[in-house]
């Protein structure tokens, strides 16, 4: 029971990250190396805005508001000032810009939050007792529910709304889409906003279960692995990939050697990339376009 709960919660954290990476890849052929940093900074913003006016007591509504405002501003800012300009440049420019963003965000954690270890204390009281004395908190239950809600909302958005359809069109062929009257800038900044929002959510979940610090940005790499294992251009793949990574990590800790768990995502990655580089659900020809 405990085993299932841990893997499911970890899967949720990674799936949200992987989904953001996939959306950005689909939208602009950008692989975001700053996703872990965005997630953790998002968690910090969530915490700080929740604490802002309430003097020690966390106010969830303010925190959520703060996180949403952060996502919109951050997503739009990254797209408008940086990613919009790298279209048409050599492929490495976009990647390295995101690496630069990662470093700047990491330094923001140090300068603004003094690299403090933070835990997000919303609903950490034990809610459910499992067999064997282990407990689950409201936060854990909420994190699973929120992740599922997020993916359902994403599905509805892409399938039924006008903007969602435009998004898929832009992902297919940006030039054609813009000629048919799609506001590509709007669509792409929206992609960034959604991705940052997903990352923030993931950072909040992570901060509730573990803690936020400059070290925890490594979850971005686990998210990236999940996205690659599932296929960089498949949202469904992101969830499956996240599950594979989470399961493998958990099993290594319990059955093989805990020390290996840090290197493990990359070992999975090497295996997947040498056998099936486009991932479990990715499109084969995608690889050549990189």
């Amino acid at each position: 029971m405990e085993f299932v709960a841990t893997v499911v919660i970890l899967t949720c954290t990674y799936a949200l990250l992987a989904a953001g990476i996939v959306i950005l890849y689909k939208a602009g052929r950008v692989v975001n190396f700053a996703h872990g940093e965005i997630a953790i900074v998002g968690g910090y913003v969530f915490y700080s805005s929740g604490m802002m006016f309430s003097g020690g007591e966390m106010s969830p509504w303010l925190a959520v508001l703060g996180a949403i405002v952060f996502s919109v501003i951050m997503g739009a800012f990254i797209y408008a000032t940086m990613m919009r300009r790298v279209v048409g440049e050599p492929f490495y420019v976009a990647i390295l810009v995101t690496v630069g963003i990662a470093i700047v965000l990491k330094s923001a954690i140090i300068v603004i939050w003094r690299a403090q270890h933070l835990t997000i204390d919303v609903g950490i009281a034990p809610a459910i007792r499992l067999a064997g004395g282990a407990t689950l908190s409201y936060m854990d239950v909420a994190s699973v529910a929120l992740t599922i809600a997020f993916f359902i909302a994403l599905y509805l958005f892409f399938t039924f709304t006008r903007l969602g359809v435009q998004f898929r069109g832009t992902a297919e062929n940006p030039l054609l889409a813009s000629q048919r009257g799609v506001n590509v800038n709007l669509v792409l900044s929206l992609a960034w906003i959604i991705a940052v929002l997903a990352a923030t959510l993931s950072g909040v979940l992570y901060g509730g279960r573990a803690f936020l610090s400059t070290e925890s940005v490594t979850i971005g790499l686990a998210g990236l692995t999940a996205a690659l294992v599932g296929g960089l251009d498949s949202l469904r793949g992101a969830v499956i990939g996240a599950f594979v990574v989470a399961l493998a990590q958990y099993l290594t800790v319990r059955l093989i050697d805990p020390v290996l768990s840090e290197a493990l995502p990359f070992l999975i990655l090497l295996v997947v990339m040498s056998i099936r580089p486009w991932g479990l659900f990715g499109t084969v020809e995608e690889l050549d376009r990189v």
Partner: protein, 396 residues
């Protein structure tokens, strides 16, 4: 074009500024000593209060009129827990600032290179943390430590946890670092010698979700769990252990863990029961005149971190530094200071169980350790044993 111009100007200004930065410093009429530590890296939460304790002592000392009318001037540098930056800072302090000795330092990985580099120029280095074996007999020249050595701490903990439960199964947890493994090995030896059983869980350095590791530890059915790591890990492991259903004794080894960390971890875990703490220096909650003196200074000058045993640790180093400089007299030189420190004995009052006592060939001396327990009701630390003495010999 405009934008490019601005950018070029910016680039030029940065380069100019970088070059302009290297300017010589001027001599002063004060004892000048260096302090290097991690104020911003992964372990800043442990090292900052230690520095603050040291700073408190020096402030109080200078307000008393200094040593024989001469003030003590401390040059502080931050190494961010990076060896190359620590070495660069040490070189800068010895050359530009002309310091007499270097104090503080962060984790073992920065201590080794600094010890090695300063040995070449002949500058005494007195560390105050997980000091490495350099200072233990037979000690390397110019290397001293008033801090916690992993190997010694491992032994002290192995001995002290017998007060919680004799025999039984102990599970040691640590991060995959060389120091952590060394501490575990020593802890294990004493547990086995006392007739107990031993098992261990080692996790990667960058871990921040401890749930699976805590579950792995709980599955081994321990009677006692010992954590050999710093604040951050304790903050994560304690709640994760309790969440996994383990309610037995958990022992915090004080590698820079503050009482405030334990309070926060206990709050998150939902219960502060059965949390123990092994420390070389007194807890901030101890009621004795020496600790009260530190607390008074903390009230007077203020610190950014809540008062903790790490402040006591830094204060003790300050006391040691004063005694060394006083004996050295004015003018003091590096060689003279080194000679003095080699055989210096400083009474620590109630800051720890006994004096810090260096002898020739031993830059560490006997150390005193004590077991504390967290009182969940009053949110305070209570002593659970007397001071246990550990000799520095026999570790190399």
């Amino acid at each position: 074009m405009q934008k490019k111009f601005v950018f070029r100007g910016l680039a030029a200004a940065t380069i100019a500024a970088c070059l302009a930065g290297f300017s010589p410093a001027q001599a002063q009429d004060a004892y000048k000593i260096g302090y290097i530590t991690d104020l911003s890296g992964p372990l800043a939460s442990s090292y900052t209060p230690t520095w603050e304790g040291f700073e408190l002592y020096i402030k109080a000392l200078n307000d008393r009129g200094g040593i024989g009318g001469k003030k003590v001037d401390v040059v502080l540098d931050d190494d961010g827990l990076k060896a190359d930056r620590a070495v660069a800072a040490a070189k800068k302090q010895t050359e530009r600032d002309n310091v007499l000795g270097i104090f503080g330092l962060s984790l073992s990985s920065t201590q080794g290179p600094v010890y090695a580099e300063m040995r070449k120029i002949g500058v005494p280095v007195i560390t105050t943390f997980s000091g490495i074996l350099d200072a233990l007999p037979p000690a390397q020249p110019f290397s001293y430590s008033t801090g916690v050595v992993f190997e010694v701490a491992g032994d002290a903990i192995g001995e002290l946890i017998q007060n919680i439960k004799k025999g039984g199964k102990v599970v040691g947890m640590t991060i995959d670092s060389v120091g952590g493994r060394a501490a575990l090995a020593h802890n294990k030896k004493l547990v086995l010698a006392a007739g107990g059983q031993w098992d261990e869980v080692i996790f990667p350095v960058a871990t921040s979700d401890f749930t699976p590791f805590a579950q792995a530890a709980n599955e081994k059915k321990p009677d006692i769990v010992v954590g050999h790591y710093g604040s951050g890990q304790n903050l994560g492991v304690i709640p994760a252990l309790r969440r996994s259903g383990y309610t037995g004794p958990y022992v915090v080894a004080s590698y820079g863990v503050t009482e405030d960390t334990i309070r926060a971890a206990a709050q998150r875990a939902g219960s502060g029961d059965n949390i123990f703490y092994v420390s070389r220096y007194s807890s901030a909650f101890d009621k004795n005149p020496s600790v009260a003196e530190v607390a008074a200074a903390q009230k007077k000058y203020g610190t950014s971190k809540p008062f903790s045993s790490m402040h006591v640790t830094g204060w003790a180093l300050g006391k040691f530094a004063e005694e060394a400089l006083k004996k050295c007299g004015w003018p003091c030189t590096r060689d003279k200071l080194d000679k003095i420190v080699q055989t210096l004995k400083v009474d620590m009052g109630g800051l720890t169980g006994g004096p810090i006592e260096m002898v020739a060939g031993d830059g560490y001396g006997p150390t005193y350790w004590r077991l504390y327990a967290w009182n969940a009701k009053s949110n305070e630390m209570e002593p659970k044993s007397g001071w246990v003495k550990r000799e520095a010999k026999g570790y190399k």
